[in-house]
Symmetry: C2
């Protein structure tokens, strides 16, 4: 049996506030960088509204297509938080109070009222595994390969550390950047040649505008540092030949 | 015949840099706010890699499902810019030099070399309509209901103004926010009741943390201001009863 070496994830952002433009998603970047370090590549992101059937259908598609699915948003106490009930339906599981989560939140709210909204946050698919929340008490959860996290970026960030041992990945995906004082159209032909000669390195080219000056960042990504090194030396060769200024590397 | 009143769009973000976490997408928010003002609601966003077949399949799915599709990214001069050729294949159209775009860019680069990379930016689906670019010359384009814009946020922003007359929408989607000094779990039950009583207003509840204090923003969205007003007065009623401080409205 060939050992699996490539692990792919999808991120599913559940929230009308992203689709309306009110809020800019930052969780994708947080999750992607963290997953890359664990050897998991994010290959698709979807943003969908707070509509139960859409959540169910999308989760069921993505969890079949990818090794991991990470959802963000919709696990709070209000009427528009319907992720936990939708995930239960997606898996055909009961949506019920998780006794461990109930104990955690009862303790968390011991000096105030453990009201209906707060108790709602203990309801999730039966036998779901908890993802502990060191920031605001209410845990996330996972069922099989679907991990459900909150939408608030600071809370999400505080929770993913505890998940590290639950994620099996491959080699970490390494990235190296070289930033040049040039424009893309000056280096496009050289870069194309280098990409063709280095198929195992994903080369990206991204224009930037900083301190009043244009530049281009070339990003090389691979699980293999020596392949990045070869690619990098080829880039430095043409940069040198064309007398392009290196801004940062 | 009933006049169409609801117009839906999808945004397709094409770019490995978003999936790797290197870059945070901000174009979704720009496009969504602009589209709302034209009476078009964004109901799905997807982020996909720079892979031709993935772009073709996703565009063909989305352009059938929605009134409008907006793509961002992949129309520059480098090897990883494959949006124009992929869209050509999605529509079964020739990928060829657009003579108007060629003339524009030849003029734009008259004081430097109009090289291969720059000429690549004039290639697009045959008979595509141009989207002019007041910032950096190279135009975007649209074919039927698929509008292709660049990934660089400042350039994208400068281009959408010129598209206004090409987008037919419904009534603008209005939004009103009231921010409270409370936590979601304190108001969840009242909000659920108000949402049930006001089905035509989409009510969202979003916690925030500002200047060291927690709060919740309640966002009401509808095409109908008077329905928002009714909803708003019901919210103010329970806010008043519960003696919750209003931070902003």
């Amino acid at each position: 049996m060939v050992k699996k070496t490539k692990f792919h994830a999808a991120i599913l952002i559940i929230g009308n506030e992203i689709l309306s433009g009110r809020t800019q998603d930052t969780n994708t970047s947080t999750l992607a960088i963290w997953l890359n370090s664990l050897g998991v590549k994010v290959v698709e992101v979807r943003v969908i509204p707070d509509i139960e059937q859409t959540i169910i259908d999308t989760v069921n598609l993505l969890r079949t297509n990818y090794d991991y699915v990470f959802t963000t948003g919709g696990i709070g106490p209000t009427h528009d938080d319907i992720t936990a009930q939708s995930i239960s339906k997606a898996f055909g599981l009961k949506y019920e109070i998780n006794q461990v989560a109930f104990k955690i939140l009862k303790e968390y709210y011991k000096h105030s009222e453990f009201n209906e909204g707060r108790q709602k946050m203990t309801k999730m698919p039966e036998k779901a595994n908890l993802i502990l929340n060191p920031t605001s008490g209410a845990p996330g959860f996972y069922v099989e390969n679907v991990f459900c996290l909150p939408g608030v970026p600071s809370i999400l960030k505080s929770m993913i550390g505890g998940l590290k041992n639950k994620i099996v990945g491959g080699e970490p995906i390494l990235s190296q950047t070289i930033s040049l004082r040039t424009v893309e159209s000056e280096i496009a032909t050289s870069l194309t040649k280098i990409q063709n000669d280095n198929q195992d390195v994903e080369i990206g080219s991204y224009p930037f505008f900083q301190a009043g000056k244009l530049g281009v960042s070339i990003v090389m990504r691979s699980e293999n540092q020596s392949k990045i090194d070869i690619c990098n030396s080829q880039i430095l060769k043409f940069v040198n030949e064309k007398k392009i200024e290196i801004v940062d590397r």
